[in-house]
């Protein structure tokens, strides 16, 4: 590796806090906090339903079990007939592979419709997390979503960017209960819904260590303004690097082959490469992570995160999750965590690492914190996948996986979340196993009331294509050939295993 010369970052000191237009902006902003808002579980453990990621017959298909859990966990009671029901998912970064398969989302859309709700799938725009981010504008995000198979046609309902074309279509929500944040901004397609079903992809996250349904609320439902707030932009002193990136004085400047990417990474041009370092204007920064992530993704160390940033961001995103929940009446939001493809990083990464454990299954609940605790416990107790970062770190089942992989325990989120009223960490887990009966086999099939075979009878009555072309041309039948010839192609010469 080349030896670089490093000069200290040239700071243009922040003279005073940045004053924007808050005093006048959205003065009459609707604060949509519902009067009947409240955490779902009032007493005792929160009920969580679980279906494992395995199947040996029709009824055990993961899609069928997801539908079953929707009813077992009574998520169908989160909305009334004719309610507008937002289905909150993550649309996934461009080139990301470990995202929720569209079938899971379509399955929930189908059941919301079957219960008389009017579903639409939503996600908010993001900040510019890195310089080729696809989710920061609605146009790019839609293109990426289509590439992932997230379309009107696959879901059977509208697929919407919740905070508008530019990420400004939002409502301000006050959260006096928040430990750090006292307000946030929620995309209107979320805030104006009558009810919401949150479908979380349970996996790791570089900032919040773990991402499930809380992450869908605390970041995913936040508009651009909400995300700046949740990122803790301009909180404290720039030199503390909590509300700003951390400039390490380890930037080789223009000697870095990525320096142009680094300069291009900031949508506010807050920094630029010098001959042997960086120039930095903290007043222009809004803490979108773009420079930090671009630097880290490039394998460099000039711009990074302060260690204490992460646990504070975790607490802040739990606060912001409360902001999203307060847009709904108590019990109007249901949660599903899909612990499938449990990879180390977020769906906003433009790639996916190997899963840290085998697929676990589906969790469903009306209590957010109970759901998250149950999911995290299951992930921690799961075996370690060979070749994954969890295996590289020598983890054993039972250890806090995402603490070891990403740096801090995700329980910071659930404990702070419990404190502000997001739910209870205490949970009662019901293991759901469908019973193999004719009714259960039929109920989630494409035509439950008429087997495809029965339909084909009518087709074949009119036109029996197989009979038409008989007899087929092929080798003369020989019983000996049938029993022996295939063994000449078998590396085990027809010997049965075990």
């Amino acid at each position: 590796m080349a030896e670089h010369k490093y000069e200290p970052t040239k700071w243009n000191e922040l003279k005073q806090p940045v004053e924007g237009g808050k005093a006048t902006y959205q003065k009459k902003s609707w604060n949509p906090t519902q009067k009947k808002w409240g955490a779902y579980t009032e007493k005792g453990p929160g009920q969580v339903w679980f279906a494992e990621a395995n199947a040996t017959n029709w009824t055990e298909s993961m899609i069928c079990k997801t539908k079953d859990l929707f009813y077992e966990a009574k998520l169908n009671t989160c909305f009334d007939k004719n309610d507008e029901v937002a289905i909150k998912i993550h649309y996934g970064e461009y080139n990301r592979t470990a995202i929720l398969r569209p079938e899971y989302i379509a399955a929930i859309v189908e059941e919301v419709k079957a219960c008389g709700g009017h579903p639409y799938v939503v996600n908010d725009t993001t900040l510019s997390y890195h310089l080729y981010n696809n989710m920061a504008t609605s146009q790019y995000q839609q293109e990426g979503a289509i590439r992932h198979g997230y379309t009107d046609a696959t879901f059977g309902c509208p697929v919407i960017i919740a905070d508008g074309y530019s990420g400004e279509d939002d409502y301000r929500v006050e959260i006096p209960e928040g430990l750090i944040l006292k307000e946030t901004y929620i995309g209107r397609a979320v805030a104006e819904a009558d009810a919401m079903i949150v479908l979380g992809h349970a996996r790791g996250h570089s900032i919040t260590m773990y991402g499930g349904c809380t992450k869908q609320l605390g970041i995913g439902c936040q508009s651009k303004r909400g995300k700046y707030i949740t990122h803790l932009a301009h909180w404290g002193d720039p030199h503390d690097s909590i509300g700003w990136p951390k400039f390490t004085d380890k930037c080789p400047g223009k000697a870095c082959k990525f320096h142009q990417m680094c300069d291009d990474s900031c949508p506010h041009s807050a920094h630029k490469a010098l001959e042997h370092g960086k120039e930095w204007h903290p007043e222009k920064c809004r803490l979108c992570y773009s420079c930090q992530v671009t630097c880290l993704f490039s394998g460099m160390t000039g711009i990074t995160f302060e260690d204490n940033y992460f646990p504070n961001a975790m607490i802040a995103h739990a606060d912001a999750a409360l902001g999203a929940l307060k847009c709904f009446d108590k019990g109007k939001v249901g949660f599903i965590n899909c612990a499938i493809d449990v990879v180390p990083e977020c769906d906003c990464f433009p790639w996916a690492g190997k899963a840290v454990c085998p697929d676990i299954g589906i969790f469903a609940s009306k209590d957010l914190m109970a759901l998250e605790e149950a999911t995290l416990d299951a992930i921690d107790n799961a075996p370690i996948s060979p070749g994954s970062v969890a295996a590289e770190k020598g983890l054993k089942p039972g250890e806090d996986k995402f603490r070891a992989i990403n740096g801090f325990s995700p329980r910071i989120i659930t404990r702070s979340g419990e404190k502000i009223g997001l739910g209870t960490r205490e949970y009662s887990l019901t293991n759901y196993e469908p019973v193999l009966t004719p009714e259960n086999v039929a109920k989630w099939q494409i035509r439950p009331n008429k087997p495809t075979t029965v339909r084909l009878r009518a087709v074949f009555d009119k036109h029996d294509l197989t009979t038409e072309v008989m007899p087929f041309d092929r080798s003369q039948y020989s019983k000996k050939w049938v029993q022996e010839e295939w063994k000449t192609y078998d590396p085990y010469k027809g010997e049965k295993r075990g």
Partner: protein
């Protein structure tokens, strides 16, 4: 005098189908002039209310979207705002998209990302001045999909209009590009549904028309003047798209017109349309000539077009 190109529907052949004609119109009228690689084009279209069944076919929208993509290397953003008056009280982004989808208007079919101009609520946008002190409105809030783009193509399904006289370039490229709350301001004091016995007075119509015309100035300002207009004389119905029904078209299909001048384009559309109308139909758009003159006096263009006919 402004040039308007008109491609009629005569001499159809395998290489001169409706889609070929529309493509040719865009080429001959130099619609892509001024566009370059990477520019973001907003293609403003008309989506229809539930119950209105004469909306422009998605395949025709796609022809225009493809031309924009060819010129920029980037898919355009196809957009429309939430309806000015929501007959079925379903004015939420999800309902709007549901209805649009039921009519075949999706990103897949239209050839560009299909979005609501103004976001889910219809109110996301920016304020732009109308540019002159005597303006009644002062400025207008233009929807985000339009005002955040580098250029605007206005593809209008021409219909008769109970308030404006004719829904074409001036209506679609002005009032229809505004955010929802701004439309409410423009529409103030006017009941948009003449069929339910509440037709607006002449005076209130004059005010509305003036406001709607001024909207064009703000919209044009928001994209620094880079606006191209295309009018489709296709299923010209007595009711515009925001109605929850329509009677049958008042004229046969006459083709497409294009221009950079919305006044000239609407004037030309009228002159092509009028001979095909019944006496009653001609009467219904008679007042629109006053609108054209008012538009001309506001500097929006020339009401004396030079029509170049293509076949």
């Amino acid at each position: 005098m402004s040039n308007v190109f008109w491609v009629d529907l005569t001499r159809m052949s395998f290489d001169n189908s409706v889609a070929h004609k529309l493509s040719r119109l865009l080429r001959e009228s130099a619609a892509p002039a001024g566009l370059s690689d990477g520019m973001r084009v907003a293609l403003k279209v008309n989506t229809a209310e539930n119950g209105y069944e004469y909306g422009l076919r998605p395949s025709l929208v796609r022809v225009v979207a493809s031309a924009a993509q060819e010129a920029t290397g980037t898919q355009p953003t196809v957009c429309d705002g939430l309806k000015l008056v929501d007959y079925w009280n379903g004015a939420k982004g999800a309902s709007f998209l549901d209805v649009a989808r039921s009519k075949g208007y999706t990103a897949d079919t239209l050839g560009g990302g299909f979005v609501i101009n103004g976001g889910y609520s219809g109110d996301e946008g920016n304020l732009y001045t109308c540019g002159f002190p005597e303006s009644v409105l002062g400025g207008v809030e233009v929807g985000s999909a339009v005002c955040r783009s580098d250029a605007l193509w206005v593809l209008s399904h021409v219909t008769l209009h109970p308030l404006f006289g004719l829904a074409g370039a001036l209506w679609n490229g002005g009032f229809e590009c505004l955010v929802g709350r701004e439309r409410t301001r423009v529409l103030q004091g006017v009941n948009a549904y003449s069929f339910n016995g509440h037709g607006p007075s002449g005076e209130s119509l004059q005010i509305l028309r003036r406001r709607a015309l001024e909207s064009n100035l703000g919209v044009r300002f928001s994209v620094e003047g880079r606006v191209t207009y295309v009018n489709a004389l296709w299923d010209v119905t007595p009711q515009p798209e925001y109605f929850p029904f329509s009677e049958v078209p008042v004229a046969e299909n006459l083709g497409f017109l294009a221009s950079r001048d919305p006044v000239a384009l609407d004037a030309a559309s009228c002159s092509v349309l009028e001979p095909a109308l019944s006496a009653e139909g001609r009467e219904r758009i008679r007042e629109f000539h006053e609108v054209l003159r008012a538009a001309e006096s506001l500097g929006l263009g020339s009401a004396q077009p030079t029509i170049q006919r293509l076949s």
